[in-house]
Every structure is written in C-alpha cells, then in structure tokens.
Amino acid sequence: MLDVIILVLDSTLRLSTPLLFACLAGLFSERSGIVDIGLEGKMLGGAFAAGAVAYWTQDPWLGLLAAIFVSVLLALIHGFASITNRGNQVVAGVAINFLAAGLTVLLGQAWFAQGGRTPQLDMDWRFSPITLPFAESIQNVPFIGPIYADLLSGHNILVYAAFVAVPLTWWVVFRTRFGLRLRAVGESPQAVDTAGISVAWLRYRAVIICGALCGFAGAYLAIAQSAGFIKDMSAGKGFIALAALIFAKWKPVNAMFACLLFGFLDAVANLMQGQSIPGVGEVPVQFFQALPYILTVVLLAGFIGRAIPPKASGIPYVKERT
C-alpha cells in the first residue's frame, strides 16, 4: 500500500511542478492587477527556447536562461499592451497564446526541420534527477526510508526549485517593500500612485517576474520532464494553473496546495485508469480522464467559497478619463 501511495505522490510532485511555476507566475501578475490568461503561451515559448538552446549549447542551464529570456519577452509584450497601452488584458493574453503556438513551430521548423520539434536532448543536456544525500543509505529504514528515498529524493533540480519558490514568493509578497506595493497596486492603483510610486513600473516588474517563472515552467517541460520541445507541449497547463490560482485565492501557500491537488488528482486518475472498480466494474477511461476536472468543480462548489480577485485586476489604470 505504501508504495502505491508513494507512487502516486511521486507522480503528484512531478505533475504539480510546472503548474506551480505557472501558478506563482500568475500570482505575481494578477496581484499587480494584470489578468493573465497568457500563462500557457509564455510557458510554451519558454519550453521552446529551453529545448533549442539546450540543444545548441548542450547545457541545461543556458536552456533555462533562454526560457526565462523568451518568456519574459512575451510577458513584456503583454505588459506593453496592457500597461502602457491600456489594452484589454484578456485579449493580450489570447494573443500571446496564439503567438507562442505559432512562432514556436514556425521557428522550430525553420531551424531544426523536425516539424517544430527541437532535436532530442542527451541525458546530460537536461536537468536530470538528483539523489538527495543519504537517500541510498536510509532506503531500507521502514516508512521513512521509502518516503525519503523514493518520494523526496530523485527529482530534478527544477522540482525542488518550484517548491522553494513557494516560501520565497510568500516572503517577497508579504515581507518586502516590493511585495507591499505589489499587493497595493492590484487593489488600488490610485493609492499607489498618490503615494508617489509609479504604477506602470511596478506592474512591469510584476509582469517580468511572471515571465521569468513561466520560463521555469517551460524549461521544466522541455528539458527536465522531456528531452526536447514538442509542439503544443504545454497542453492546457497554463489554464489549469490559472484555475489553481483562483482556487488558491491568489495566495502563495494555497497555490502550492492547489497545484498539488491538481497534480494529485491527475496522478490518481492516471493510476485508476483501466482498473475496474469493485462493485462498479470497468469504468470508461474517459471518466477517469475527466475526474480531476469534475473533482475540481465539486471542491470548488463545496469547500472553497467565493474567490475574490484583487480589486483592480483586469482594469487598465487611467487617471484622466476622456
């Protein structure tokens, strides 16, 4: 039984990681008042850059940097549209998603001629699993051993980074000057403005952080979890991350639990698929595939209550209305 649990939880960690990066990314953006349905596109753009650069340089770290760079670039487009030009943030997000979907394949095809894929990466051009200290020696200790060695140990560095990013985000948002201003600007940009702080620059910084974190998510997909970029490989994770963010009521620690929950539901669904349930018998696989989404809706209806977004989110900041 323990090994089944560990198996599911292990899978949960891996599945939650990209969601968590993207979710925290969204947190920075939306806390600053910029609604972001472009997480998907930024992630995808980052994944492509990671795949391409990791292949060229044979170095995952440079791949990660490239992912961050590209993702931040997309974030800046989003920012330029919604901060500087006061455009519709949702439309900008939709545009980013389309742009990333199209450009990654277009450039991928032009550079590698593999149908938008990047060439397959060798083991050591990727982020590979890390064995935590003593994992082997305590492997056989009952209970603790498997949990440490099989569940906690043996992930790649980005998985750990994602979970380190949670307290870090919490600290930045709730314990630093930047965080205070970030929270303020999402609630009341006028208050920030009249306090002598530039609303635009603050929001740009939030959007840039959002891009950087999406870069991590993308790099994880392409050069940690997989061995290269594949067209559309973000496969809707940006939207799930967005859902997780709302679920988490825009709070970092909640975000972690929300992402873990989504990852867990997914992992369980993977495990349950094709197994017959006692008393019910064989259940169509589609049911299990839909299960995480159904459970999300049930949880949302039952336990979460109203999620109230930062008050100014989605509204471009204008002082003088004409």
Binding site: L7, S11, P18, R117, Q225, S226, I230, K231, Q273
Partner: protein
C-alpha cells in the same frame, strides 16, 4: 509519365511523429528517387479537408493521397466530383472507382511486438500508452494484448490513454507520467501508440531503465539499446508505392490491405536493438509471423465487433 501528386495530412500535421509523418517520408522518398515534386497541405479544421482535396483536384493534381480515417467523408464527396482524378486514402475505405483505399492490419504488427514485450519482460507485467481512446488505438492495444497473452497467458497488461482533446497526441509530459506510473506498477516494457506524446513515453522508459516500443516508424534509434523494437506501419512505403504505381501506370483502385503478408506492418530489428532481441525471441516472432500470414493464427481485429476479448 510525369504526375502531379499531392498529399493532404490530417490534424496531426506533416510532423506528428505518427502516420502523417510517415506519409510525408514516403512522398519525400518518391520525390528524391524520381525527382517528381509534390504538393501537400496540413488541415486545421474539419472544413478544410474537403477544401484541400478540391483545391488540389481543381489544379489538376493527380494522384491525391489523403492520410487518416477522418478524411473518408470528405474524400467520398470530392472523389465523386472529380471522377477522372486518382485518389488514395490511408487508414480507411472509400468505395469509389477512382479511389485506392489502403488499410493496415495494425493488430498483426502489434501482436508481434506484444509477444516480444512478453518475452522481454522480467516482471511479467507490460503496458500500453495510447493517445486517445478511439477505435484505431484500440486496434493497436488489442493486438498487443493478444500477442503478449499468446506468450504468457498470465501476463499482466496495463493500459492507459492520454487524453480526450487534440492535446492527447502532443503531451509528452503526460505520456511520460503515465509510463512512470505503469513502471511503478511493475511494468518493464511499454508500447505506445500516441504520436508525439509517445516521445515522453519512450523518454521515461529510457530514463527509468525500462524498455519502450516505438510505433508507426522505426523509432529504435531514439534511445539506442532502450527501445525493444518498433511496430512499423509502413505508411511511407504505401505512399511511395502508390505514387510509383501512378507514375509507372500500374494504378489500381479498390482496397489494399497491408498486413504482415504484404509487409505493411512489421517489427523493427536493427543495430540499435540487436542486443535486446535474442535468437529465441526472434525465432518465436518469426514463427508467429508465418502462422499469421498462413492464417493459422487469427489476430482479432477490434473493428470487427468493437470488442477486445483479451
């Protein structure tokens, strides 16, 4: 004779790591060999199927090959409008005098790799990752199971499908995750029929020191020594042959069934996996192949009755 061939791919597109890509390779091969250029088109939504076929037909392209079962309805319409144009469809049957229908016996090839998987497995547990739960994929999985059970009736076979949206074919992360969850449940050989999602399946197998089985084209080279074999579905050969037939005046219509006998499906053996296949395995598979070709062994086709008894 110079011909003006055209190819219409389905949703997955020219480079889907699956049958569309195989078709592309076939056309490419033909082009390199004969120097005859071809045109192609990747559809983006259902309405473009008809449109693309018609556009090619109008421009006098001939023959026109369409890839994928989903094109059948569109082809049926357009082929009637252009009775003098030669058409071919891969993976479905369109019963018209100017259409060649090419269907593959995926279950036969899958049967063979299923046998190999069962023989290679040390845990007596093997697995399958499909893209979407549609009849075509069931066809693969059913043959695979039958083959495995033929070797070891008690073998455990885990079966997973990736998703229900188009992303099911392009989600290597999910594919890898499904494979890992299968490995954790003791599977040590995994066969995928999931397009680009399968990249993640094979990667996971390589990462975890298990064996993967490729599909459609020979994927053994992707992780040398870690891919047991590939169930090759010779769409490329079929496309090349169809074009060649048209060029050389050997065009024929009707249904072309591409099974083991016709080398339409096969299992791949090359330098990359030579060490994984011992003589005993090789002998067993070759024997089974003969039995299937001769009709001594009947491989169940899921499509016949929509069930898989295994």
């Amino acid at each position: 004779e110079t011909i003006k061939p055209a190819v219409v791919y389905d949703f997955g597109g020219r480079n889907d790591r699956s049958f569309n890509e195989a078709a592309f390779n076939g056309a490419q091969e033909f082009k390199e060999r004969t120097g005859i250029n071809y045109r192609d088109f990747e559809i983006q939504n259902p309405s473009q199927r008809e449109q693309a076929l018609r556009n090619f037909a109008r421009r006098g392209m001939d023959p026109i090959i369409t890839i994928g079962f989903a094109q059948a309805a569109a082809l049926e319409k357009v082929a009637k409008e252009f009775p003098d144009t030669r058409f071919a469809i891969v993976d479905s049957v369109v019963d018209l005098p100017n259409v060649r229908s090419i269907v593959f016996r995926e279950e036969q090839g899958s049967y063979l790799v299923g046998m190999l998987a069962a023989m290679a497995s040390e845990t007596d547990t093997i697995s399958f990752v499909g893209g979407m739960d549609i009849p075509l994929i069931r066809k693969f999985s059913c043959g695979y199971k039958q083959g495995a059970k033929a070797v070891n009736p008690d073998i455990e076979i885990i079966e997973n499908m990736t998703g229900t949206t188009g992303a099911a074919w392009t989600d290597p992360v999910k594919g890898g995750e499904l494979a890992r969850s299968q490995f954790a449940r003791d599977s040590d050989v995994v066969f995928h029929a999931a397009g680009a999602t399968g990249m993640g399946v094979l990667q996971a197998a390589a990462d975890e020191g298990k064996l993967g089985i490729g599909v459609d084209s020979n994927q053994n080279h992707l992780h040398p020594g870690q891919i047991l074999t590939s169930m090759v579905k010779a769409v490329d050969v079929a496309v090349d042959a169809t074009l060649t037939d048209a060029q050389e005046g050997n065009w024929s219509t009707g249904v072309q069934v591409m099974g083991l006998a016709e080398n339409g499906v096969s299992w791949a053996l090359d330098d990359n996996n030579a060490d994984l296949i011992n003589d005993e395995m090789k002998a067993a598979v070759e024997a089974a192949k003969q039995d299937i070709v001769s009709g001594k062994v009947e491989v169940h086709d899921f499509m016949v009755d929509n069930t898989c008894p295994f």
